[in-house]
């Protein structure tokens, strides 16, 4: 069934989060206002990205990042125009122009930049194509999405959206079961992470760290989207009347009642 919608309603950050959590393989195709974007993933990791007609070839990426000079770039275009990026990469490594790490790091940086551009798209129809993989001649990377997701969420400035996500600062936070490893956090994010505990409300965390409501919402939003924390009722909050513990007889009565309801619903 379909994974499709409009960026107006489901942001890039949320899509990346979903792809990451579901370990999806395939290509996210986005029809933006003036360009089309293709972002491919393998098992929830970023593999490839291209926006519009931009030349994302290896030669172009290495030239833009000053790994090869203008003459080398021209020579590659002239002499190796028909070569795939994979073949060109091997050629450049064997010739000693670049290392394997140079290639991977520059491609990763390029693809991450493409995603950064996507974060500015607020309108566009998206669909996820399970069977669609990047072009065979292009080099794929394998980049964790968590840091990209956190960075993307930093760019969200709309207070209204943040308030929708986190309606009350009187809720607390707790860590999820996902391990907090290989995640790059900013100083302010660390300040919040340090106080993640069901005993501390977000309002208290903000006050302690002298963060504004918007700032703490923005940070918590990033952590939530990356799946690192979840919202919980504060540990010392009074339980509503209905949650007060029942005595043994009340439990037995309630069980009988629920059994009656089950029997009745089954018979409908």
């Amino acid at each position: 069934m379909a994974l499709r919608g409009n960026l107006r309603d489901f942001t890039i950050t949320q899509l990346l989060n979903l792809i990451n959590l579901a370990n999806k393989t395939g290509t996210l195709v986005i029809d933006g206002a003036s360009e089309q974007a293709y972002v491919s993933f393998r098992e929830g990791k970023l593999a490839y990205a291209r926006i519009g007609k931009e030349d994302g070839s290896l030669a172009s990426v290495l030239y833009k990042s000053n790994k090869i000079n203008a003459n080398q770039y021209k020579a590659i275009i002239d002499r190796a125009g028909q070569m795939s990026d994979k073949e060109l990469g091997l050629l450049l490594i064997n010739a000693g122009y670049v290392s394997r790490d140079d290639i991977l790091m520059n491609l990763q940086a390029y693809f991450t930049d493409q995603i950064r551009r996507l974060f500015t798209w607020v309108e566009g129809i998206f669909r996820f194509e399970n069977e669609m993989l990047p072009p065979d001649d292009r080099i794929n990377v394998r980049l964790d999405l968590e840091n990209i997701i956190i960075e993307g969420s930093r760019q969200l400035r709309e207070l209204e959206q943040l308030q929708d996500e986190i309606p009350s600062l009187d809720m607390a936070l707790k860590f999820t079961e996902r391990p907090l490893t290989n995640v790059n956090l900013s100083v302010d994010e660390w300040k919040v992470v340090k106080f993640v505990d069901p005993k501390n409300t977000m309002r208290q965390i903000a006050k302690t760290n002298r963060l504004t409501e918007v700032e703490v919402r923005r940070i918590v939003y990033g952590l939530l989207q990356a799946g690192l924390v979840e919202l919980v009722r504060p540990a010392d909050a009074p339980l509503p009347q209905s949650a007060k513990p029942l005595g043994p007889k009340e439990i037995e009565d309630k069980k009988n009642l629920v059994n009656k309801l089950i029997g009745r619903i089954r018979s409908l």
Binding site: A2, D9, F10, L239, S242, V258, I262, I265
Partner: protein, 178 residues
Amino acid sequence: MQTVKMVVTGPFSAGKTQFIQSVSEIDVVATERRISSEEERTVKSATTVAMDFGRITVDQDLVLYLFGTPGQKRFDFMWEILSEGMLGFIVMVDSTRPETFREARSILETFRAYAPTPFVVAANKQDKEDAWELEDMGHALRLDKNTKLLPCVATERDSVKTILLELLYSIMSEMEGS
């Protein structure tokens, strides 16, 4: 006569009224009004402004009431009143409208804060071609693995029965664990 209640909540046009209608033994007392907003009118022509009200008589001493909350945010002052004393609640989500998922999550968290009673999430309109897969919805709604996210077609009585039964099983298992 003892009465118990369950609440059916969820975003605007998620299928709450239809859900209750499918199992209620009385015509649902729906307080619907014509939609005034142009954007909302494109989705459906009338909506619940106070609450829906359905009934299932269990025996001469016990009646189950199903209350449907108004889906539009400007009526959320009703939610706390409706949630008081409920046995459990169902969050309806339209599987074909990802733009409502964020609101559904917000509603779910609000209801959990009002009353930490058992609940299930019903992914409605799973019979539609453009419905999201349950797994994707679970991630989008940030549900933990213990939360029941169930496929639902609110127009089908058997599907609605399954949702109600799953909620009752959750209530039972919570009691057995206490």
